[in-house]
Structure formats: structure tokens, C-alpha cells
Symmetry: C2
Subunit: 430 residues, 2 copies
């Protein structure tokens, strides 16, 4: 869809084109920024400016809205620059999956639509091409609540292929809803991946003034280029402002707020690093350095796993059967990893049937310990496996992976109790 | 069990008795504090001192341990003072339920045992009797992971009886595992309760040097006596140190760490008040003042309710049936309250069968909003009920209560979308 007739006329009257610096007044508000390309999906009366903050704003233009050109681009085309690889720059591959970061607001309905292609996303952030040669691919275009195990598997394959094809780093724009789960899945599937694999999202879509998309993407690219860290990470705003970004380990990260830009937190571990708005990286502790190794994707996953939370009134009659029928059960227990005593026979029945029953804590913070109270010791006797300070969601993803990548129940339990990708720092795994 | 022969002899040799101020040296460590009564359950070689911090420490005494009396009580008996009501002091009723706060460490096994009676607990904290007339009752003596709906009902009855019997405030020592659930249950069952009802716990048992039991109990008593606030609250350490205590609203509080003393946080609301070590109370916003009304316990609860967390790979084949068979389902969805699209038919099937399916967010922070993305709108069409910034656990407890205390499904849904006890501050309940 192109601009409306009236908006086209207005822009033509001042000879405004992409890359021009404009002052736009609409409905009493004034915006200053660089004129961006008009996306096919945008409403015809929306003009998109990139603000000085790096954010794009979609401005609805009315009959009485005004546009003034204050600076013209000196030959340099913004937005749709040809994608010629520049010498000396590293190669980053963007593998798009969808999510708010690749979304726009449908101004007719107010709804957010998943429609930006990865190259549109890159074109909306021309600064990206200053720091790396970017190759963009679209793998999926879905909201992350619809990500499933098969998506994780395809994504791990695509990431490892891109790395083995010469990428110095991978950026995966991803919906925030299940980004933590995907990060955990990639962490186990990709094991000792030799390059940085960064999942990045946005809490506000790219065409909104308050969007965190550009900041998070730029920080991700900086980290891939300058960080010298291999592994799977999530990079998002560290605070509500735009001057600090946190690099979270893929197995330790959790979305802790439905809407704030600093929704993602590292739980039971410090963030792996922080990046400021100038791209300066500060690391917390050591990490694996990048290497020239080969990326191997071990994508086997046992689908017959479930994640439950224990609660007062939990009825064993309802849950025993589904636990027995599963190959793996992760329970987010109370406190140190407890269930109500009336659920202990269910744990025993499931364990006796070969199910691995893993205890984590719904507190999220801190570690499970089934040796302190009688309840815990009874649970251990019933067969429960305690995994310390591992997040429930990470334990669930890991259990699927451990069951598919081990030869026996015992080996899978052993894997659950060993830190494979930084998912637990707890030494008292009892 | 009394002291061992050697320890009895040692204490007799220096004429040490309860209330004496002692300096005790054992295994190279020196402790100064007031000698406390020897509990029946303590090992015979354990001497309990109350330290200056208010904490009790159980010291294992050996052949070469030494005791020195540095001050004798001047006629004032500490610990087992007669329980004569003092004029001018308010009457607080302690209703014991068990938990770590009423526990001791079994030094033979290292395990924590639930055995302190409520009056033993009070006797271990003689300062309590300085600020109120304390009546202590034991209702249960269980760890809170074993609390069930019937316990909540009995507790609500006991609380309302005590208030109608003249109590100015109720303190409920409670295990921390499910204290948030019980607080929510009492909040709905007791409605406009005219006095303060404070649940209080400890992360370390009362006989350990690092116990938070005394501090939390004292803050609870102070709040009941001086706070002039009616309602159901949880009072626990606000920080890791012993100088600040947080008063959480019963519907907004969640245990967020398995072991830290400041494990309890108010989510999506500020703490109702803060109390410092001197008992000074600072309120955040307004609350209901105490009154002379009657306490009424509406304890009806619909047991056929379940709490689930959605996750990638969640299999509708496993969960549809149990959702249809329930009268109420609370799902902690991803992000703004989403499920995977393949779970939407399960929501529809359950809703069509009359089940109320309530969406909360596993993020915990922030509010659900099913109007932003297509997934959410499809869920609303399927019958999902979005409850804003209500905690999943609170929503589960409330749903049980709403179903039992309403005449129709519509009324129960209406109750879920109305703030009854501060459980949601969200005005966009769609």
C-alpha cells in the first residue's frame, strides 16, 4: 500500500523523500526525524520517522498536518542501501522468526500484526549495516506463543548451518512470550556452539515511538561483533530507559513482566554482560570465547514431557494419570521444591513407571533442596529428582532434550543433575 | 528431654538459670546472650541463648565448652512469665498452624521438625508480652506445603471467632511455602474483616542464630497494635538484614526465593507498609481502618478448580479433558496471557461445557491483555476470562471462592473481574 493521495501531495510539495530530515506537525504534536520508507503494510496516512533516539515513530497525518524538510541526505540513501558486503566487517546472519520486534500496529484496529520481513526490519535500522555485513533470512513469521518444539528444531538447524556457512554471529529476532524457552532449547541443542547466538525481541512494535526494537537489535549486533563470547544469549533492555542492555544466558533468562521494556531478567545468576548505548560491553565473570569450531545441532526432543505447578488443593486423581503417561514431568513445587504430601504417591507411581519427575521451585529464586524437611525426603524416596537453582521452564526444555539424547533413564537423570549450559550453579543437587 | 548430665552439671556449677545473661564458649566460638528455657524437643546437649539481635541460637555444648554468668535477672523471670493480662494492652490472638517459624532443627539428623507449640513460640519471645496481651492457640502443626482447602476453612473460622471474641488482631504463624495462597484464601473468605489478620513465617527455624522468626513476629505484633489497618496481610523481612519488615497485602504477595529471609514480595503493588526495627510504621497509600464490626467467614470453596502454566509443547490431548471436567481453570499464560493456538480449542471446549477459564500471566509482573494480539482475541472468542494484574495463585484461590459464593457462572465471572480485596488494580479487564 502506498501513501494516500493527500499525503503524497503534501510530501511532493516540499520535495520530501526517504532520508530527508523532517519536522512534522500533526494533531498539535511535533516530531523531528529522518523519513523512513513507507512499508507495504502501513496505513496510507502513516508517515514513519526515525527519531534521534533510534526509534521509529508512525505518525498519522491529517489534512492540517504539516511537513518541513530541514536537511537533505547528501547522496547517501538511507533505508534501502544496496547490500554489498563491506570489507573488514564481520558477517552476521539474522534469522527471523516473527514476534513484536517484526510487527507493526494496524492503525485501523489497533492490533499488532506480525508482518515485517527480516530485511524490512534491517532496512528500518540502517545503522546495523555500519557495524556488520548483515544477511537476513525469514524462517518463520509467527508470534512466539505459537512456537513449538518443531520450530526450535528447525531454528537450531538453521543457526548451525549459518555458522558453518561462515557467520560470525547469529541474531534471532523472536517474540518475547516464549523467548526464554527457545533460548533454553537452543542452549541444549547447540551445546558448545562456537559463535554467539543472540535472541532478541521487542516489547513494543518497531513502528511505535516507544519501540525498543532498534536499541535491542543494535546491542545484539554489537555483542556479536565485539563480545568475543560463544553461546546462546538473550539481549533486551536492562532498564526502562534506552541506555543499557542486558545480555542474559539462554538457560537463566525469564520474562518477568508482561509489558515493561526491561521485562527480561537473569534468575539465580548475574546477567552475562551489560552493553551501554555506545556499544561498550561490561562482562560479569568469564564465558566461552568464540572459536572456529563446527556448530552441531543435536535436535532430538522427547515430546511426552509436561510442566506442572503444585498448589494447595492439587488433586492427585487428576494428575497421577497424566504423570504416569508422560516420560518426563517437571513440577514447580513450593518453597524448596515441595508438593503436598497427597501428591507424593503420584510421584512414586510415575517414577516407578519410568517417568522422570523433576522438582524445581515456583519461587523461581533460590535452589530446591529436598533434604531439609520430611516432605522433601519423602519425595526423594518416591523418586523425585531435585535440580537446584534451575528455572522450571529451563528444566522442562532440558528434560525433553535429556530424554532424547541419552541411552537410559539413569543417563537422563545424570544429565539433569549436570550443568550443561550454565543452567544451574548449584552443587547440592539432591 | 532435659539437659544432659554433663551440661546440667556445668550450668549448676556457675548457678546459671533461665534469664541469666551468659557468655558461652563452645568449639572456639563465643556467644553472649540470655539463657532461654530448654525445650522438650531439643537435644540434651543444646543450650539456647537469645542474642542481643533478638535471635535465638542453639549451641551444642561439649566437654570443653565453658559458661560464665555476667548478669542475673533481678527477680524478673524470662520466658515462662505468667500470662496475666496487663491493663491498657491490646489483645492479640496467635493461631498456630506450624511451619519453620514453629520448628526446630533436630541436631541428630540436621532435619527441621515442626514441633514448637504456639505458647512455646511466645515464651521464646518474651518481648511480645511487653506490647500486647497474647493468647496462643494451636490450630494445626503442619508444614504449609500440606495445607489444603479444609485448613483454610478451619483457619478462617478460627480467625473470625477470635475477632468476635474480642481480639484486636490475629497473628497466624504459618509455613512459608504456601503462605501466599493461604493469605489470598483468608482475604476472600474474611472479606471486610474489621481487624488486622497477619500471617507470619520464618525462613530459618526459631532456634537457629540466623532465624528471622523473632523479628517477623515482633513486627507483626507492632503492626496489629499500632497499625490501625484491617485486612489480611503477610509480614516478613523486607531486606536481608533485620532492620526492616514489609507488610504485604494478602492477595498481592508471593514467595520469590526458596531461602532468603526477604523472600516475600508484593507483586504489581507496593507493600502496604514498612516497619523498622523500632516498630515505626510507614504506610504506602491508604487502607481500611480497624472498626468494631463483626467478622464473617464465608468459607465456601469449589474444589474442582485447577491451576496450569502454559508452555511450548503443551499437549491439548493431555489437558483438554481435565479442563472440561473442572469447574474452574486458571492458566498462567505467556506474556500478556497467551496460550499456544493449539490450546485455544481446549479453552473453547471447556468454556462451552461451563468451565470458567481464567487467564493470568506467568510473567507475574504486569497485566494480561487479550486485546493486543490475534492470539488473545481468539482466546476471548473461545471464552477465556482475562483478569489483569492478578497473580495466578491468587486467581486460582479466588476462582474457587467465586464459584462457591455466586449463584451463576456469570456472577462468578463478574466477581473474578472485580477487585474484592485489592487483588487487581487493573481497569482494563478484557
Amino acid at each position: 500500500m502506498s501513501y494516500s493521495e493527500s499525503l503524497s501531495r503534501l510530501l511532493a510539495s516540499v520535495d520530501a523523500s526517504e532520508g530527508c530530515r523532517l519536522v512534522v506537525t500533526s494533531k498539535g504534536r511535533t516530531y523531528t526525524g529522518t523519513m523512513m520508507p513507507h512499508h507495504d503494510f502501513s496505513a496510507p496516512d502513516i508517515l514513519v520517522l526515525k527519531l534521534k533516539s533510534g526509534y521509529n515513530v508512525g505518525i498519522r497525518m491529517y489534512q492540517d498536518s504539516a511537513v518541513q524538510v530541514v536537511e537533505r541526505p547528501s547522496g547517501k540513501k538511507i533505508g534501502l542501501a544496496a547490500n554489498e558486503p563491506k570489507k573488514g566487517l564481520k558477517k552476521l546472519v539474522l534469522i527471523g522468526t516473527g514476534g513484536t520486534i517484526a510487527s507493526y500496529v494496524d492503525y485501523r484496529t489497533g492490533a499488532v500484526q506480525p508482518a515485517l520481513s527480516t530485511s524490512e526490519l534491517v532496512n528500518a535500522m540502517p545503522e546495523l549495516r555500519e557495524i556488520a555485513n548483515i544477511e537476513a533470512r525469514v524462517l518463520f513469521s509467527i508470534f512466539s506463543e505459537n512456537m513449538n518444539v518443531e520450530h526450535w528444531q528447525k531454528l537450531a538447524e538453521a543457526v548451525s548451518e549459518a555458522i558453518n556457512d561462515g557467520a560470525d554471529g547469529i541474531i534471532v529476532p523472536h517474540g518475547t512470550d516464549t523467548m526464554g524457552y527457545t533460548a533454553a532449547a537452543l542452549s541444549f541443542m547447540l551445546g558448545d556452539v562456537p559463535k554467539p547466538v543472540v535472541l532478541v525481541g521487542a516489547q513494543r512494535s518497531s513502528d511505535r515511538p516507544s519501540s525498543d526494537a532498534t536499541g535491542n537489535m543494535m546491542a545484539s549486533a554489537r555483542f556479536c561483533v565485539d563480545g568475543n563470547r560463544a553461546g546462546v544469549f538473550v539481549i533486551m533492555h536492562d532498564t526502562q530507559s534506552d541506555d543499557s542492555f542486558a545480555v542474559h544466558l539462554g538457560t537463566r533468562v525469564r520474562k518477568m513482566h508482561t509489558s515493561r521494556r526491561d521485562a527480561f531478567h537473569s534468575i539465580n545468576a548475574p546477567a552475562a554482560a551489560h552493553i551501554d548505548a555506545d556499544g561498550k560491553i561490561e562482562f560479569s565473570g568469564h564465558g566461552r570465547e568464540v572459536s572456529d569450531g563446527t556448530a552441531i545441532a543435536k535436535t532430538g526432543m522427547e515430546g511426552r514431557c509436561i510442566l506442572l505447578q503444585s498448589y494447595p488443593g492439587m488433586d492427585p486423581d487428576i494428575f497421577t494419570d497424566i504423570m504416569v503417561r508422560s516420560r518426563g514431568v517437571v513440577i514447580a513445587g513450593s518453597g524448596l521444591g515441595h508438593v503436598n504430601e497427597n501428591m507424593i504417591p503420584a510421584i512414586k507411581k510415575a517414577s516407578d513407571a519410568g517417568t522422570i519427575v523433576v522438582m524445581t521451585s515456583q519461587c523461581l529464586g533460590g535452589a530446591t533442596n529436598l533434604n531439609v524437611y520430611n516432605t522433601g525426603r519423602d519425595m526423594l524416596s518416591a523418586g523425585a529428582v531435585s535440580v537446584g537453582d534451575m528455572l522450571p521452564e529451563t528444566a522442562y526444555v532440558k528434560l525433553m532434550w535429556a530424554l532424547a539424547n541419552s541411552g537410559s533413564r539413569e543417563e537422563a537423570v545424570r544429565l539433569m543433575k549436570t550443568s550443561l549450559a550454565g543452567e544451574t550453579g548449584d552443587r547440592r543437587l539432591a
